[in-house]
């Protein structure tokens, strides 16, 4: 009997040691500072305690679809020209439906040739319809293809953002897809103090492309329109830029550019800031092999013409094509050092495939986080002390029992958190406090029952047995209902609320062990020491 008890005590001590390790690992020393350090290494704090930014971004995938269909429009035009099939225009009729392309003005006799051309080249990705008497055709991107493109866009955006954030040196950033199927990204950046700079790096420069210049710079949009005869052709577009590029003034000016880009963000392999022979800052870039070939083709045909570097929807730089360029070149302009660095970083990490909109932004300042920790811990300590004092006062000797069980409960709970690397949030601390209150509940249940049995005249060990037996059912019931509640909160809640559900669940699970097994063992030890005629101190 006694050996059995000794084993049980050893088990409990082993549990204590294991979970203490979970909390502080192996600390470098026993000073307060060393312990705090060890603690903060193991326990992972949430944003609301550490301070930092929580952003939810929406990837505007329709832009990626539009860009893809723009390319297709150009290819269709090229193919029809090469096959010498007449047509009047190929364009996208509805800007809100970028996946639909319309081809007009083919001739009836050519209809079957056009049909077979479109089918062979495009039917993998598009549904081809039309060719009737009105000589119009519609190519609609297949839904599956569109979905795959959208997912790829989101994934690329995540990778690009991760690269950019990594280069900022943020510790433990979290970047992942959010809300599956809705094309949203979650970005969590702990410890960020200058949020504006981070946001500008993440979000700005959404698109980086090089387009052929058709005309410009013009003073304003009316002048630009006048140059193309009043209406912008479907394969061209108007883009604003700074007049400093051509005229040296800062005024806004308008360019007419080819809609389809010659090279776009992902075609850049690397980019570095440098200086040219005059000491002016420039950006030296290299392209991928594929893009290099395309670029060479384009520049050899277009020597003497201009290309525009478009960043974030504005013309940033206009360059004259002096000779054919294969895959490395320079972008010159009056850049500030910061601009050059940012531009290189953008080019290096690749441009975002589509723009990002903010859906949610929660930023907790580090000072508020520190305050929250302080207040939460204070409340927890006060709560623990009050409960422990009360148990001692009301249940005397058995109160020590309850207090020991409570202490072990907290150790196991925090150890769990340390081992599982679960995040501790401010509501999580509240969950710990709630666990204290509800945990001691179980002890009260058992002790009250034991008192009843003692009052009814039962012997001490029988009273203890009965107390535990009867209370067990109710303890299980109450713990299960609260844990179910917490599980639902975990499934449906957001970050901080999840933290609450986690600590509450861990705490109650630990409580099932401490309130029943550990309390029992302590009672047994106590009972073994009782002299005949003495009763349990409760």
């Amino acid at each position: 009997m006694k050996k059995n008890l000794k084993n049980k005590v050893l088990l409990i001590i082993a549990v204590l040691v294991v979970f203490t390790y979970g909390i502080i690992g192996v600390p470098s020393g026993v000073s307060g500072k060393a312990l705090m350090e060890a603690l903060s290494n193991r326990i992972h704090l949430g944003l609301d305690l550490r301070g930092g930014a929580h952003l939810i971004l929406q990837v505007v995938v329709s832009e990626a679809v539009a860009s893809e269909t723009d390319n297709t429009v150009a290819r269709v035009q090229q193919d029809l020209k090469t096959a010498k099939l007449t047509f009047s225009q190929a364009y996208k009729p509805d800007p809100t439906k970028p996946q639909v392309i319309r081809l007009e003005g083919t001739t009836q006799p050519n209809a079957s040739v056009v049909r077979s051309l479109l089918d062979t080249k495009y039917s993998n990705e598009y549904d081809v319809n039309g060719g009737g008497a009105d000589n119009t055709w519609t190519l609609t991107m297949k839904p599956l293809v569109q979905k795959a493109l959208e997912e790829k866009t989101v994934q690329q955006a995540i990778d690009t953002i991760r690269d950019r954030v990594d280069s900022l040196g943020v510790s433990e950033p979290l970047i992942q897809e959010y809300n599956l199927g809705a094309n949203q990204i979650l970005v969590e950046l702990p410890g960020i103090s200058d949020l504006d700079r981070v946001k500008s790096i993440i979000q700005s420069t959404a698109r980086l492309e090089i387009h052929a210049v058709v005309g410009g710079p013009y003073q304003d949009e009316t002048a630009a329109l006048a140059s193309v005869g009043g209406v912008v052709p479907p394969d061209e577009m108007l883009v604003h830029g700074s007049g400093a590029l051509a005229t040296g003034s800062d005024a806004d000016s308008v360019y007419v550019l080819q809609r389809v880009s010659v090279v776009a963000g992902s075609d850049f392999r690397s980019a570095d800031p440098g200086t040219d022979q005059n000491g002016l800052r420039n950006v030296r870039f290299t392209l991928t092999n594929e893009a290099g070939d395309k670029f060479y083709e384009y520049t050899s045909v277009n020597v003497g013409k201009s290309m525009a570097v478009v960043m974030g929807g504005r013309v940033r730089e206009v360059a004259n094509i002096k000779s054919a360029i294969r895959d490395s070149g320079e972008i010159e302009g009056s850049f500030t050092p910061d601009e050059v660095t940012i531009l290189s970083k953008m080019l290096r990490t690749g441009a975002l495939p589509a723009s990002l909109n903010y859906l949610e932004d929660r930023t907790v300042g580090a000072s508020l986080g520190a305050d929250s920790i302080r207040q939460g811990v204070t409340a927890a300590i006060v709560g623990v002390l009050v409960v422990m004092a009360f148990m001692l006062f009301y249940y005397r000797g058995s109160g020590i029992n309850a207090d020991l069980a409570l202490f072990l409960n907290l150790v196991i709970l925090l150890g769990f958190m340390g081992f599982s690397k679960a995040t501790l949030t401010l509501p999580g601390i509240a969950g710990v406090i709630l666990t204290i209150g509800m945990g001691v509940d179980s002890n009260v249940l058992i002790f009250e029952r034991i008192r009843e049995e003692v009052r009814a005249g039962k012997a001490p060990s029988a009273a203890v047995d009965q107390g535990f037996a009867h209370a067990w059912v109710t303890i299980v019931d109450t713990h299960v209902t609260t844990i179910v509640s917490a599980a639902i909160l975990f499934l449906f809640g957001s970050g901080p609320v999840k933290g609450f559900a986690v600590t509450l669940t861990f705490g109650l699970a630990a409580n099932l062990f401490t309130a029943v097994y550990v309390s029992r063992v302590i009672f047994e030890a106590h009972l073994n020491k009782l002299k005949p005629g003495e009763t349990v101190s409760i």
Partner: protein, 337 residues
């Protein structure tokens, strides 16, 4: 050397244990009309307050930025801020509909500035920048931004949906669990008690003008679980007593069960209440709504097990008795120990 004095303390006296509720014998069911009146007063007060809020702001309770969307910036000033002057600053900068509220002016010089929801999600962040710029113009660097929350309409709706689903599933889960452990009528009585608790707690928020945020919803779901706990303890005892004495009238069994568990109920609720009170007092502003919900909820939850759930059981049985459908409350499935 003086002889040591031996004092005789007499036979060793066993110190009586501290017992709060020994030998209580209150007729709880007899007081059910008082309980009903008490509940009605608070429920009606809550409902009236919620209706007034609905008329004024379009929702029954003030909602935090989680649900209503928009921008909320928490600022701490170096000196005591003048709300009027801050409001003036925002108006001068051309910001429309900014609401400036004292958050914790007394101890921390903190102010909350909120902007309504923006429908255009591409410029969601602009509001925050505008506020900061407007204040820089007047206060230079005499303030820091402690906390920013910007919630767009998409996310706002998602969160509302999540909160609603969580509540629904919680209640349903409870009902099913109780149906399984007891009998349906026990489950229904317990769920009615929970609805009562939630209604009164939310009513308190309306009455005191506090905001409901996501964490408050979490608190409410927790206290639903907690109130369920409490009710289960009483029901467990009723079930046990019914099994032991089939001849006793139900009201008497219920009264006796409540009296027997009173000590345990008050103690555990009291202890949990103390810990939650500690959280309310020391836990800081961020958790204030959360801890307020728990403080009110625990009190009401304990009350409802005695005053709502138990009388409902008896009333149901009496109704069945009158319509001649059987007179004893089934003792339910035998609990697996």
């Amino acid at each position: 050397m003086n002889a040591a004095v031996l004092k005789d303390y007499g036979p060793r006296k066993r110190r009586e244990p501290v017992e709060l509720f020994h030998g209580v014998n209150v007729d709880w069911l007899g007081k059910k009309w008082y309980f009903l009146a008490f509940s009605m007063i608070f429920s009606v007060a809550g409902i009236i307050s919620m209706s007034m809020h609905w008329v004024q702001i379009g929702s029954p309770v003030p909602l935090s930025v989680d649900f209503r969307g928009g921008t909320q910036v928490q600022l701490q000033f170096a000196q005591t801020p003048d709300i009027g002057r801050i409001r003036q600053a925002t108006v001068e900068a051309g910001i429309k509909d900014a609401s400036v509220v004292a958050y914790d002016v007394a101890s921390n010089n903190e102010v909350l500035i909120s902007l309504p929801e923006q429908t255009n999600e591409s410029s969601l962040d602009a509001g925050r920048q505008q506020i900061v710029d407007a204040l820089h113009a007047h206060y230079a660097n005499q303030f820091t931004v402690r906390n920013v929350q910007v919630v767009g309409p998409t996310v706002g709706k998602q969160l509302e949906r999540q909160a609603g689903l969580a509540t629904l599933y919680s209640m349903a889960g409870m009902l099913v669990y109780l149906w399984f452990r007891f009998q349906l009528i026990y489950g229904v009585a317990a769920v009615v008690a929970c609805f009562h608790d939630t209604l009164i707690t939310v009513g308190f928020f309306a009455l005191t003008g506090q905001e409901i945020s996501l964490t408050v919803i979490a608190a409410i779901l927790t206290l639903v679980g907690y109130s369920m706990n409490d009710t289960i303890v009483v029901f467990d005892r009723i079930r046990e007593n019914l099994r032991l004495s089939r001849r006793e009238a139900l009201p008497d069994v219920v009264n006796r069960s409540i009296n027997q568990t009173l000590s345990r109920t008050v103690l555990t609720s009291g202890l949990t209440f103390l810990t939650v009170l500690s959280l309310y007092v020391f836990g800081g502003q961020v958790l204030r709504g959360f801890s307020f919900a728990l403080v009110v909820g625990i009190l009401i939850g304990t009350y409802s097990s005695i005053a709502v759930a138990a009388p409902m059981l008896v009333a149901w049985q009496e109704w069945r008795g009158k319509s001649g459908k059987g007179t004893t409350l089934p003792a339910a499935k035998r609990a697996r120990v």
